[in-house]
């Protein structure tokens, strides 16, 4: 009996050996084929997530058709796996990031959207996986993590709101109100956007928060109207919330300027027009169609990418365009360092890398002296700005990474803190593109 049990145990052990060594064997194979394994954590129940996956597949296909990336004398094929992690869903993010790192051998996380980024950062850092992600707040870009950078950060974005608010001030707006979702992100965004509105000269009214489970937006609109703002900023509201809130504001008889938030996509836009028609004329928002952003449209690499997208998928959709900065940042870092080693790349990124151009404009990494982070970990993403005219969104200018940097410092009253940093390390060098703001604006 004992002999039989021993034989069974040995058999099980032999059978288990390949499983134990499988990851190493697979990694060795990947190395031999020179494959760069990249992961993208997105939300496939959103238009943005679906579009990001399409771009991920297309980028990998285009790079590989040309024989891969030539780095340090070797050619590397690119593999970008897209993982569905739900919207701000910690359980799904954990499952996704663990599968990516431990099962699929991913060494770089790029083009993330909607992941529970605080969790992604922890696992990426522990495993020395370069994470070029997104997010708000200070913790992830502080000194705690070495492998996280956010080219699409939410901190250096004050110009996005500031320039829009400034336009409304010039058109006669005097007061503003942030009406957004009652979540942690909603409150962070309300504080940030509110500060930008104030910088533009608007008097801030108390923010109005509504639940994610709101069924009828009539009471929300009535409350907004009773506070009588000239300008309503939807902050972190998304999709149907934006449509229903706009509709309710129109029904309530409120008239004024609208910034519908950062998360508006073409489907949401067309639903708003369907619901409220010309009421939405005059609203300003981000303009995410690279074909209409001059600095992007004239770039040969971007043009090739856009043309190929249309050839592969037909109708051009803009939902994914904003979220691809991670890829361009990573590719430029590999080319600049001639290395694919995440440790080498993170050291390069931490020292003020050359800003890459993406489908929404230039995005530059900056340090955060306000939280004693002197490595360049936090990005100021540029993007287009548009106004609604006759039910259509028209490009009116670029919000540059320089605008984002300067406006953010001014909004947070951090000129003194940054001045000390500049005295020691110098001011950042921005991409060559016309900006609205300059360092002289910090003292005005």
């Amino acid at each position: 009996m004992r002999r039989t049990a021993l034989i069974c145990l040995v058999c099980v052990g032999i059978l288990a050996l390949p499983w134990l060594f499988f990851p190493m064997a697979r990694d060795a194979g990947a190395e031999a084929q020179n494959v760069l394994k990249m992961g993208s954590l997105t939300v496939l129940m959103t238009k943005e997530g679906v579009e990001i996956k399409k771009w991920n597949d297309l980028i990998a296909k285009m790079v590989n058709e040309k024989g891969g990336l030539s780095i340090g004398g070797k050619r590397y094929m690119v593999e970008i796996s897209t993982y569905d992690v739900g919207y701000d869903d910690s359980a799904k993010t954990l499952a996704g990031v663990q599968k990516a790192i431990h099962q699929d051998g991913v060494k770089y996380l790029i083009n993330n959207f909607g992941d529970h980024y605080n969790l992604t950062v922890v696992h990426a850092d522990q495993n020395k996986v370069l994470d070029l992600g997104v997010g708000f707040g200070n913790e992830t870009v502080g000194t705690k993590y070495q492998y996280f950078f956010r080219p699409l950060g939410g901190y250096y974005t004050a110009a996005s709101n500031y320039l829009i608010s400034r336009d409304f001030v010039q058109k006669g707006a005097k007061t503003s109100l942030v009406c957004t979702i009652d979540t942690e992100m909603g409150h962070i965004v309300a504080a940030q956007y509110g500060a930008s509105d104030a910088m533009a000269g608007l008097k801030l009214l108390p923010p109005v928060f509504f639940g994610m489970d709101t069924v009828d937006y009539g009471p929300v609109a009535t409350k907004v109207k009773s506070l009588n703002p000239d300008f309503v900023d939807f902050g972190a509201a998304i999709g149907d919330q934006i449509v229903n809130l706009t509709g309710a504001l129109k029904d309530a008889g409120w008239k004024g300027f609208i910034f519908p938030g950062a998360a508006i996509n073409p489907t949401t836009f067309s639903n708003i027009i369907k619901r409220v028609g010309s009421y939405f004329d005059g609203a300003e928002m981000f303009y995410n169609d690279p074909r209409g952003i001059p600095i992007v449209a004239k770039d040969p690499e971007m043009k090739e990418l856009i043309d190929r997208y249309i050839k592969e998928y037909g109708e051009f959709r803009t939902e994914g365009c904003l979220w691809l900065t991670g890829w361009f940042t990573l590719k430029d870092a590999m080319m600049a360092t001639n290395s694919v080693d995440p440790t080498v790349l993170k050291d390069y990124l931490a020292k003020g890398p050359k800003p890459p151009l993406s489908l929404s404009g230039y995005s530059q990494l900056y340090p955060r002296p306000d939280i004693d982070q002197f490595r360049t970990t936090d990005g100021g993403p540029g993007n287009g700005r548009g106004v609604v005219k006759n039910g259509k969104l028209e490009y009116i200018g670029q919000i540059t990474t320089k605008d984002q940097y300067i406006a953010t410092i001014k909004v947070h009253n951090l000129v003194d803190v940054y001045q000390k940093y500049w005295d020691k390390y110098g001011k950042p060098k921005f991409p060559n593109e016309p900006s609205v703001l300059d360092f002289s604006d910090l003292t005005k």
């Binding site: 238009k47 069924v215 009539g218 009471p219 009535t222 229903n244 008889g253």
Partner: protein
């Protein structure tokens, strides 16, 4: 308080109440007759909205066809739901059946995520514009919802007085005795499930010109309609209608003065009311298994 604001809040509450009443109508019918606490009710409402959206937007058919399509589709789904799932768990009791409806609701929710992805459905307004009276505004589409809710409730009231409606009430009262009187309780049960589900489909189709259809709309609305049914009284149509408008008005005033705590205010209102009237405004207390 400004008088115009006061009346606007009342009107807002009535409008929200109209939405809740429509969803609650099917829920209270099923709870009252079959005594199934149907957690999937909100999903029937969401699917109804998407069916109407698909028929009107993708097929280009008129809106009334979309409403009929939603009614028919949810009626049939209700029949399937009853025969494939509910009828097998009914003999095992109230909680077994409730858990199965939770599972079904989750499955439908996940399937809709996969099917509709991020599609927000919105059809063109049926009656565009708003109606203004002395500074108080009413959305025409929402007026249609209130009208629809009242019509549905009145129709259900009279339906329950027809032969089949009386049979439903008899089967609800005592299945065995009803069967001895020649009532086919099994048939009554699936008809109830089908009608209750169909009503939710109609609710979804009436909403979709006013509020855009999304994957999460079913569960959001279900929470409020569940409160409406409990406050109104199990199985009571008039109670549900009254409770729906009360919940809408409480929520409207609460949002104006305590903001995002308005849902807490509704639950507090329900808790106080049910403490003094466990059977709700016009109904009976929920059956407690084993008692």
């Amino acid at each position: 308080m400004d008088l115009a604001l006061f009346f606007q809040l009342v009107v807002n509450g009535l409008m929200s109440g109209g939405i809740y009443a429509l969803i609650a109508s099917g829920f209270t019918l099923i709870l009252g007759v079959i005594q199934v606490f149907n957690f999937a009710q909100g999903q029937f409402y969401m699917l109804g909205a998407y069916v109407t959206f698909g028929v009107v937007t993708s097929l280009g058919l008129p809106y009334p066809v979309g409403v009929l399509a939603a009614l028919a589709a949810m009626f049939l789904l209700g029949v399937l739901f009853h025969f494939v799932i509910v009828q097998w768990t009914l003999p095992h009791g109230f909680f077994h059946t409730m858990l199965v409806t939770v599972a079904f609701s989750t499955m439908v929710g996940q399937a809709s995520f996969l099917t509709f992805a991020a599609d927000q459905g919105l059809v063109d307004p049926v009656i565009p514009g708003t109606f203004n009276v002395r500074g108080i505004t009413l959305n025409n589409g929402k007026l249609l919802v209130i009208g629809g809710a009242i019509v549905v409730m009145v129709a259900l009231y009279y339906f329950m007085r027809t032969k089949i409606g009386t049979a439903m009430l008899a089967a609800a009262e005592n299945k065995e005795v009803a069967q001895l009187q020649g009532i086919n309780a099994k048939r009554i049960f699936w008809v109830t499930m089908a009608v209750g589900s169909g009503l939710c489909g109609v609710a979804g189709s009436l909403i979709v010109p006013v509020l855009s259809a999304t994957n999460s709309m079913g569960m959001n609305a279900f929470i409020r309609s569940m409160l409406v049914v409990l406050i109104g009284g199990t199985g009571s149509m008039s109670g549900a209608l009254l409770a729906a408008f009360l919940v809408g008005i409480v929520e409207s005033f609460a949002f104006q003065y305590v903001g995002q705590l308005s849902l807490v205010a509704i639950f507090a209102f329900a808790a106080v009311l049910l403490f003094f009237r466990p059977g709700g405004l016009l109904g009976k207390p929920l059956p407690i298994p084993g008692q």
